[in-house]
C-alpha cells in the first residue's frame, strides 16, 4: 500500500503551477527611486529576481571630462542626495592624492564631522524607508523629524541643506561657523535620546522583528564574493570597515567600534546601521574636541594648483551605503581625462537576486530596504 502513496512534492511537480513574472517599478511604492525589479513568483514564493536599472543614467563620468576640477564638486553632490557630503569628500580626496598634497589637520577633522553628520542623515533616511516598507508610517515620520535637525546642522555649517558643496580640493569651503560646535554636540545628544524611542518602536515590536529576522540569509563567503559592501556586508559577518582598516583623512586618530554581526539576515543588516548611528555620534564628539584643540585660527584650506599632473590615482572611502571608490586618470590639463565612480549600491543591487530568492512577495520591500537604494549614484 505504501507504494500508492505519492509524495507531496511529486504532486506539486505534477501540478505544474504557472510561474508568474511581477514587474515592480519603475513607479512603485517600494522602489525608492526609478528602478525596476522583475520578480518571478511561484504562488507567494519568489523564485527569481532581475533588477533593471539605468533610468537615471546621465553619463556623469563622461560629463566630468568636459569640466574643470572645481566645477565637478557640485556635480559630485548630485550623485546621491542623501550622502552628498561623502561623495564630494571622496572626489576631493582623489584629486588631492593626484596632486600629492596634504591638507591641514583642521580640514580633516571638519570633513570627519561633516561626513558623520551625513552618515546619520543617510541612515535616518534609510530608517524612514524601512518603516514605510514594513507598513509603519510612524517610524518614517519620526526618523524624518530627526533627520531635519541634522539638515539644519548642514545649513548652519555651509548654508545648504542637502547638496552641500562643502569640501574643496585642499580643504573645506569655510571655517566652522560661530557656535557650530555647540550646536552639533547638542543635536547629537538629543538625537541619541530620540533614537531610543524609534528603537522601541522597531525592535520591541514582535511584528517588525519577525518580518526581518531570518529572511534572506547570506553567508560570509557569498557576501564577499557577490561584492556586497557596507553595513549589509558587516551584517553578514565580514569584519571590514574602510574607516578602520584602510583609514583616510584622520579616521585613524578617532576611536570607534565597528559593529559586526554574523547572523547574515535582514535584521542583522538593520541592527548594524542602528549601531553605526551611535558610533557616528561618538566620532562627531571626538572630532569636535580635536577641532577645538586646534584653535580658531588654524588653516582649513590650502591653495592648490589648477592643473593636475598626469597619472592614475584612486581613493576609496566608507560611504554610508558601502565602499565607494573614485578612479582618476589625469592628463596634465585642468580637466580630468577620465573619472570613474564605484558606487556601492550599483553592486549591492545586483545582488538582489541572491537576496530575494526563496522569500515571499511581502518580504521583497523589507529585504530591498536594507540595500538603502539611491538611484543617483547607481546609474550615475
Amino acid at each position: 500500500m505504501t507504494d500508492s502513496i505519492v509524495p507531496v512534492k511529486e504532486i506539486e511537480e505534477k501540478m505544474e503551477t504557472d510561474k508568474m513574472w511581477i514587474i515592480m517599478g519603475p513607479q512603485h511604492p517600494f522602489s525608492h527611486g526609478l528602478w525596476t525589479l522583475k520578480i518571478k513568483v511561484d504562488g507567494e514564493i519568489v523564485v527569481d529576481a532581475d533588477p533593471i536599472v539605468g533610468y537615471l543614467h546621465r553619463g556623469w563620468e563622461k560629463e566630468t571630462e568636459n569640466r574643470t576640477y572645481p566645477k565637478i564638486i557640485p556635480m559630485a553632490d548630485r550623485l546621491c542626495y542623501a550622502a552628498s557630503m561623502t561623495y564630494t569628500h571622496l572626489y576631493c580626496m582623489t584629486v588631492e592624492k593626484a596632486l600629492g598634497i596634504d591638507i591641514p589637520e583642521k580640514a580633516k577633522y571638519i570633513r570627519i564631522v561633516a561626513d558623520e553628520v551625513c552618515r546619520i542623515n543617510s541612515h535616518l533616511m534609510w530608517l524612514a524607508a524601512v518603516g514605510t516598507d514594513l507598513g509603519n508610517l510612524t517610524v518614517f515620520l519620526w526618523a524624518m523629524r530627526e533627520r531635519e535637525y541634522f539638515l539644519d546642522l548642514n545649513v548652519k555649517l555651509c548654508g545648504a541643506r542637502m547638496t552641500t558643496n562643502y569640501p574643496r580640493i585642499g580643504g573645506v569651503r569655510n571655517d566652522l561657523t560661530e557656535l557650530f560646535e555647540r550646536d552639533v554636540i547638542r543635536t547629537v545628544d538629543r538625537f541619541e535620546k530620540a533614537l531610543w524611542d524609534i528603537i522601541a518602536l522597531m525592535d520591541d515590536s514582535s511584528i517588525i522583528v519577525s518580518r526581518m529576522k531570518g529572511i534572506s540569509y547570506i553567508s560570509r563567503e557569498q557576501c564577499a564574493n557577490i561584492g556586497m559592501t557596507g553595513p549589509a556586508m558587516r551584517g553578514c559577518g565580514v569584519d571590514f570597515d574602510i574607516r578602520r582598516d584602510d583609514p583616510y583623512d584622520n579616521y585613524d586618530k578617532v576611536d570607534f567600534e565597528v559593529p559586526v554581526l554574523t547572523a547574515g539576515d535582514s535584521y542583522a543588516r538593520y541592527m548594524i546601521r542602528i549601531e553605526e548611528m551611535f558610533q557616528s555620534c561618538d566620532i562627531i564628539r571626538q572630532a569636535v574636541q580635536k577641532i577645538q584643540a586646534l584653535g580658531k585660527n588654524a588653516p582649513y584650506r590650502i591653495k592648490t594648483p589648477t592643473k593636475v599632473p598626469a597619472g592614475t590615482h584612486f581613493m576609496r572611502m566608507e560611504d554610508p551605503r558601502g565602499e565607494s571608490l573614485m578612479y582618476l586618470v589625469s592628463d596634465g590639463t585642468d580637466k580630468p581625462y577620465r573619472l570613474k565612480v564605484r558606487s556601492p549600491i550599483f553592486t549591492n543591487v545586483s545582488t538582489s537576486k541572491v537576496m530575494c530568492q526563496g522569500c515571499r512577495i511581502a518580504d521583497v520591500p523589507a529585504i530591498l530596504a536594507q540595500i538603502d537604494m539611491c538611484l543617483g549614484e547607481t546609474d550615475r
Partner: protein, 247 residues
C-alpha cells in the same frame, strides 16, 4: 568607544510584551503633542530661521562689481551670462545676469568673486509664472539687506607658508596669482588691455620694430590693480600670457 545598541538588542520580546511597548511609546508622544504643539513648522505662515550664510539665490552689489566674468567662468551650470547694463552715470558696463531656472545654488559665484560683489542671499522662494521671469538681470539681482556674512570669503593658506611654519596666514586666492608675459609670443595686439575689467594692463612701448618701423607694444600689469580674473589669458590670441600660480 563602547557599543551602545548591540549590547541591549535583540532582546527577549516576551519581556516587552510583544507589541505593547511600541504602543506605549506612541501614546507618550501623543500625550505630549496634544499638550504641546507638534514639531511641524507651518511653512507658508511661519518660516524656519536661516543663518546669514544661507545659500539661496545669488545676489549682486551693482556698484562693487567690475564685470570681470569670474562668476560666469566658474558657474558649473553655465547659468550666468555677462550682459550690458547701464550704471548710475549712464555708462554701459558688463554685469552678470543669472538664469535661476538653471541655477544650482552652489554658491561658486559668491565664493570666487574677486571683489565680493556677488553674494549669497537667504531668499529661496523663487517661483515664477514663466521661464522668462526666472532670468534675473543685474539690477534685479540686488538684495536689500546684504550683510557681511553673505559675502563668502575665499580664504586659503599657501602650502609654502605651512612649510615655513607660518600656517595662520590666510590670503585670498586672487591676491598672489598674476598673469605673466611670455615675451617671445606676444604680438602687441592690445587685446589684453581691452578686456581687462580693472584697467590694470597698460601697453608700454618697448622699442621700435626694425622691419616695419612701428613701435613694439608690450603689456605691463599693475599688480596693485589686478584681480586675477584671467580674462587676458583667455583672450590672448597667441597664448602669450599665462597665470603664474603662487603656491
Amino acid at each position: 568607544m563602547t557599543i551602545k545598541y548591540l549590547d541591549k538588542y535583540p532582546k527577549n520580546l516576551a519581556k516587552s510584551l510583544w507589541v505593547l511597548k511600541p504602543q506605549w511609546t506612541v501614546l507618550k508622544l501623543f500625550a505630549k503633542t496634544v499638550v504641546h504643539r507638534p514639531v511641524t513648522v507651518l511653512y507658508p505662515y511661519e518660516k524656519e530661521w536661516v543663518p546669514e550664510n544661507y545659500r539661496g539665490r545669488p545676489g549682486l552689489i551693482f556698484d562693487k562689481c567690475v564685470g570681470c566674468g569670474m562668476c560666469a567662468r566658474m558657474c558649473p551650470t553655465a547659468c550666468i551670462k555677462l550682459v550690458d547694463a547701464e550704471d548710475d552715470n549712464g555708462k554701459t558696463v558688463k554685469r552678470p545676469q543669472v538664469n535661476l531656472g538653471r541655477c544650482a545654488m552652489c554658491g561658486y559665484c559668491a565664493e570666487y568673486c574677486p571683489v565680493d560683489a556677488m553674494t549669497v542671499t537667504p531668499e529661496y522662494e523663487l517661483a515664477e509664472f514663466t521661464r522668462f521671469d526666472l532670468i534675473y538681470g543685474p539690477r534685479r539681482l540686488n538684495y536689500e539687506g546684504t550683510t557681511e556674512g553673505m559675502k563668502v570669503k575665499l580664504e586659503v593658506t599657501l602650502p609654502s607658508d605651512i612649510e615655513n611654519g607660518n600656517p595662520e596666514r590666510r590670503v585670498s586666492l586672487f591676491d598672489l596669482d598674476r598673469p605673466e608675459l611670455i615675451d617671445s609670443k606676444c604680438i602687441g595686439c592690445k587685446k589684453c588691455a581691452k578686456v581687462c575689467p580693472v584697467n590694470a594692463i597698460e601697453m608700454v612701448e618697448k622699442g621700435v620694430n626694425e622691419k616695419t618701423g612701428k613701435p613694439i607694444l608690450r603689456p605691463v600689469i599693475d599688480n596693485g590693480k589686478c584681480i586675477c580674473c584671467s580674462n587676458c589669458v583667455d583672450d590672448c590670441p597667441k597664448d602669450a600670457l599665462e597665470i603664474k600660480e603662487v603656491l
